[in-house]
């Protein structure tokens, strides 16, 4: 085990896969010489050279178009869209082209590609550089959606995304780039579509994603210590494919379900999970399903107001302790 930061794990996973397959190429804005504005791709240009690691102009449609065209003709490209908010300027490529091409062509087109994007709030960047847009992505059939909560998962899930034969939107949590944890050395790949039980418990199931996972874990500690509640925390890791089996098993055991989502409330991923639980676990539930989300409001820039919006440890503790 080595201690790596979340950002170092991004470069580690890309290097791990690029060493194995010369058809993996990487492009984005400021990603090569500068190593990325979040410094998540430092060292890749030096190791793999300028034909595989390439800077692009501020042209997100050109970036994702090139990514798609390269993927359909034999390469396995990785694209960086600096901030996930910028997906809005190239969403045609994601939603209309990349996601639908295989289906529309009756299975003729392969698109083994990864779109990495810095996602989420907490950096005080304001409403256009702080959004959690994973629910945009999961609304489109044909795109896999991954959002890791720690450096070890970044390495294993990004490696899996690069190896995957389908297009993957890989959301990196901007506020977590500096956080370190033990990361397995050597070749490390995690399966897509398998949630992680981050903490076992018997009273309440808390389902979380990305930056909400450490908050849910902290809340679970407090809930145990102060309220005597045993919380099971599920880190979803991927939204598509969705590991409903782990959720169903957990809620069958606990009888209570809470989701913690950074995305704004309407049509957040927790609504889909609540709907599955309502349809399939209704007779196992001992309490109403609760969703903790950012309110349906654009994010403010100033720290005081941003912190008021994004789900906090205190909000999780309050909601869970008042269930029943």
């Amino acid at each position: 085990m080595a201690q790596l930061s979340y950002r170092e794990a991004v470069a580690a996973a890309m290097a791990q896969e690029m060493r194995k397959d010369p058809n993996i190429v990487f492009l984005g804005e400021d990603v090569a010489a500068a190593g990325g504005v979040f410094k998540a791709t430092v060292g890749l240009l030096d190791e793999f050279g300028p034909t595989r690691v390439r800077d692009m102009p501020i042209s997100e449609q050109a970036i994702l178009g090139a990514t798609m065209g390269a993927a359909m003709t034999g390469l396995r490209p990785i694209a960086e869209i600096m901030f996930s908010d910028f997906l809005a300027v190239c969403w045609d490529l994601v939603a209309n082209e990349i996601a639908k091409m295989r289906y529309m062509t009756n299975g003729q087109v392969n698109l083994p590609l990864v779109i990495r994007a810095g996602n989420g709030g907490g950096a005080r960047f304001g409403a256009q550089h702080s959004q959690s847009v994973e629910n945009w992505a999961m609304a489109i059939p044909g795109i896999k959606v991954v959002a890791p909560s720690n450096a070890a998962d970044v390495k294993g899930l990004l490696a899996a995304s690069i190896q995957d034969p389908d297009p993957v939107l890989f959301f990196e949590q901007k506020s977590m780039y500096g956080l370190k944890c033990d990361v397995p050395e050597g070749d490390y790949v995690l399966p897509l579509g398998q949630a992680n039980i981050s903490r076992e418990g018997s009273d309440v199931t808390i389902v979380a994603l990305a930056a909400m996972v450490p908050k849910a874990l902290k809340a679970a500690e407090i809930l145990q210590d102060k309220h005597g509640l045993s919380c099971e925390v599920i880190d979803l890791r991927t939204l598509v494919p969705l590991d409903t089996k782990s959720i169903i098993e957990s809620v069958t055991k606990t009888g209570r379900l809470v989701t913690v989502e950074e995305n704004p409330r309407l049509c957040g991923w927790g609504a889909e999970i609540a709907s599955i639980a309502a349809e399939e676990l209704f007779w196992n539930l001992d309490a109403p399903i609760m969703r903790i989300t950012t309110p349906h409001i654009p994010l403010a820039s100033v720290d005081k107001l941003e912190d008021l919006m994004i789900p906090s440890v205190d909000r999780i503790v309050d909601v869970v302790s008042e269930m029943d």
């Binding site: 390439r54 449609q61 178009g65 390269a70 289906y103 003729q108």
Partner: protein
């Protein structure tokens, strides 16, 4: 108003021999028959959804079809029947697709606007204006990276020159010197509006070329042999590392924008003028004038007619696709599951 770019004349660098001339005529005649039959089937209420016909614009796709290497890539728009057909697919697969039959190229999952044949290098027909411009650059990047000397050819309409993806893609292709040929088929109308009424320059593609350090190329898109020469020049440049080309070929669609459009916004005299410049009879006359025997052209015409009749029969007799294919090929594993 920018100064009108002068249309290019023949350089004589890529003369066609007789067999190539007959081949070019054959491809054009087959495209024409296919487009006319698609129209007729629509009028008989046998076509599902919409169709966008390239009747009148066949010389451009046909010339590129003849000029391209088998392993080159093409990208085209929803008006893409000609461009896909010239890569080597059957008439039956096109008619079947627009009629929603199981014999269709995509078994009815794509429809008229999405004809694709990866095995023939026809990498898709794109129904969102401009989307395929950067995708074609990506295929060209892939060819450049793999060192295969393949080229990507991207066909688009005049309306595409006013969308952002056009500019992003051509800038990208220019800075990376990508082996891609961008071909603007200027049929004078973006949907129902004259392109000159909504564009800041007179020649929507050619007058933009200099912004990306590219040569301004303006050609008569109804002159089949000139189009062939233009295609060969650009393809050779792409293969030899010379980077992208941006070609503007002027042409005209004989029908409206789509099945819903009778095209009444176009002045009668303008339509008449362009019908008089129809590329297919023009090329037929040219071949007769250079000494090709009428009987050879008549044989091609007859064969084309029997092909389209047979394709119509095959497509008409094909059943609709089975229900189960609605649930296949969302993912590479062939399925559509999003949860376990």
């Amino acid at each position: 108003m920018a100064k009108s770019t002068e249309k290019a004349g023949s350089s004589g660098k890529y003369p066609l021999d007789k067999s190539q001339q007959l081949e070019l005529y054959r491809i054009m005649a087959e495209c024409r028959a296919l487009q006319q039959r698609a129209h007729d089937l629509f009028m008989q209420n046998l076509v599902k959804g919409t169709t966008h016909l390239g009747l009148g614009q066949e010389a451009i796709a046909s010339a590129f079809g003849l000029a391209m290497r088998k392993d080159d890539y093409t990208f085209c728009t929803y008006r893409g029947h000609n461009h896909t057909y010239v890569r080597g697919i059957t008439m039956t697969s096109v008619l079947g697709e627009i009629m929603g039959r199981d014999c269709g190229l995509l078994r009815g999952k794509g429809g008229s606007m999405h004809l694709t044949s990866v095995e023939n290098g026809a990498m898709g027909s794109y129904a969102i204006i401009g989307a395929h411009m950067p995708i074609a650059a990506g295929a060209a990047w892939s060819a450049q990276y793999r060192g295969t000397e393949q080229a990507a050819v991207c066909f688009f309409g005049d309306g595409t020159t006013n969308i952002g993806a056009f500019h992003e893609a051509i800038n990208h292709a220019a800075i990376w010197k990508l082996p891609v040929v961008y071909v603007c088929e200027n049929n004078q109308y973006m949907e129902y509006t004259a392109i000159r009424d909504v564009t800041a320059v007179e020649n929507p593609a050619a007058d933009r070329a200099s912004a990306y350090g590219l040569e301004s190329i303006l050609v008569d898109g109804n002159d089949a042999e000139l189009m062939y020469e233009t295609a060969m020049t650009a393809l050779d440049k792409a293969r030899s590392g010379g980077g992208p080309s941006l070609i503007e070929a002027s042409t005209y669609r004989h029908f409206g924008h789509s099945r819903a459009d009778p095209g009444k916004y176009r002045p009668d005299e303008e339509v008449a003028e362009w019908i008089a410049r129809d590329p297919l009879p023009a090329y037929r006359s040219k071949l007769l004038s250079v000494g090709i025997d009428e009987s050879e052209l008549a044989a091609i015409d007859a064969n084309t007619e029997s092909m389209i009749d047979q394709a119509t029969e095959e497509a008409t007799n094909s059943p609709p696709p089975p229900d189960e294919i609605a649930f296949t090929d969302v993912w590479a594993d062939g399925g559509a599951a999003w949860r376990n």
